[in-house]
């Protein structure tokens, strides 16, 4: 197996997790920046539609590094699609596959189910709820909580912040409840 084929395979958690963890000291050492991604959504609001809302009155230009970081994340995703994508379908737990097949999902070629996440699906109740309402809740909830998986779970817990533990438990609980009780209903729409 060539190096490129080897690196194209999905990376195991014990490789990816520590690399993600190293982002914390990397950003601190590069320029005293605290790892956090959902804050970029706030900076976008502050830059584009501040509309006299006091929450968006700050010098967003100082947080340009954060916007550059997420621009990088987007480019990173593109580079993987160009050079490093795994030709194999996503391997998932057979139980999940069975559940998803009852919703008409059987294509695992992409990292997101293409039957649900596509442009025409925006006109269906299922697609509209998952993509539009889901996105809205991600934006609203992360800012209300003051951070997301990166800012609270990874950065906050690494720095032993108790409020971050509360937030992490809350969003994991929210996900468990929703994925098990509500997602099955939405998926059948």
């Amino acid at each position: 197996m060539s190096f490129i084929d080897w690196i194209r395979q999905p990376w195991p958690w014990y490789v990816a997790g520590p690399l993600i963890g190293l982002t914390v000291p990397l950003l601190l050492i590069l320029g005293n920046k605290t790892f956090g991604i959902s804050s970029t959504l706030r900076h976008v609001c502050a830059a584009v539609i501040p509309a006299n809302v006091s929450f968006f009155q700050y010098e967003w230009k100082k947080e340009l590094w954060n916007l550059l970081f997420v621009a990088g994340v987007l480019i990173g995703g593109f580079l993987v699609a160009l050079f490093l994508s795994d030709p194999q379908p996503v391997q998932i737990n057979p139980k999940l596959a069975e559940e998803l097949s009852s919703y008409g999902i059987s294509n695992y070629q992409s990292l997101v189910p293409v039957e649900v996440f596509n442009w025409p699906a925006l006109l269906t109740a299922r697609g509209l709820i998952l993509m539009v309402a889901g996105g809205f809740l991600v934006g609203f909830g992360t800012r209300y909580a003051g951070g997301c998986t990166s800012g609270h779970a990874i950065m906050g817990l690494s720095n032993l912040q108790l409020p971050s533990l509360v937030a992490t438990i809350s969003f994991m609980a929210g996900g468990f409840i929703f994925a098990n009780l509500v997602i099955p209903i939405i998926m059948k729409l």
Binding site: F69, G77, L79, G139, A145
Partner: protein, 171 residues
């Protein structure tokens, strides 16, 4: 905030030395005193981070559904080991008083507790289960070719805006 602009704006020199609100880590605490092209390092860091997110399939809707159904250890392994490595890193930074590349003391913002961490956390959890993406993966999914996720991202910006608009009235 004292905004005395004594330097030309184009130089991106920080003139605001006032301590930022301590309960928020949305803002940079460090002083960026280098010319703006140095900022490219954050773009490079983001590219590496994005590649890791995609290759570990953390951006996969399927992996998130597995995580919330306790059907796979993968996501717990990723997040758990990231926290452990982050913790050890911060411990070492504090113990050896490691400075930034420009010799500045590293400052770590403290978070203060408020009910939003519970309510907002739950709401974010709902959204995470729906989109299969927390904010980082939203960007990575778009780059990776799921262009429709642009709609989710714009919706997330709208959600953030609505939160900002309502923030004074929420518990």
């Amino acid at each position: 905030m004292t905004n005395v602009e004594v330097y030309p704006k184009t130089k991106n020199i920080n003139t605001d030395f006032e301590t930022r609100s301590l309960d928020s880590s949305d803002f940079s605490v460090g002083q960026e005193e280098k010319p703006s092209w140095h900022m490219i390092k954050y773009l490079v860091a983001g590219i590496l981070f994005g590649i890791i997110l995609v290759k570990s399939e953390v951006i996969s809707w399927f992996r998130i559904q597995e995580m919330f159904r306790l059907q796979s250890f993968h996501m717990f392994g990723v997040i758990g080991s990231a926290i452990v490595v982050g913790m050890i890193s911060i411990f070492l930074i504090k113990k050896f008083n490691i400075k930034t590349v420009s010799g500045e003391k590293i400052s770590l913002p403290k978070k203060t507790f408020h009910k939003g961490q519970i309510y907002g956390g739950l709401i974010f959890g709902f959204g995470w289960a729906m989109t299969g993406a927390c904010p980082g993966p939203l960007y990575a999914q778009i780059g990776n070719g799921a262009t429709v996720v642009v709609v989710s991202l714009l919706s997330a910006v709208a959600g953030t805006w609505v939160y900002g608009y309502l923030s004074d009235k929420l518990p």
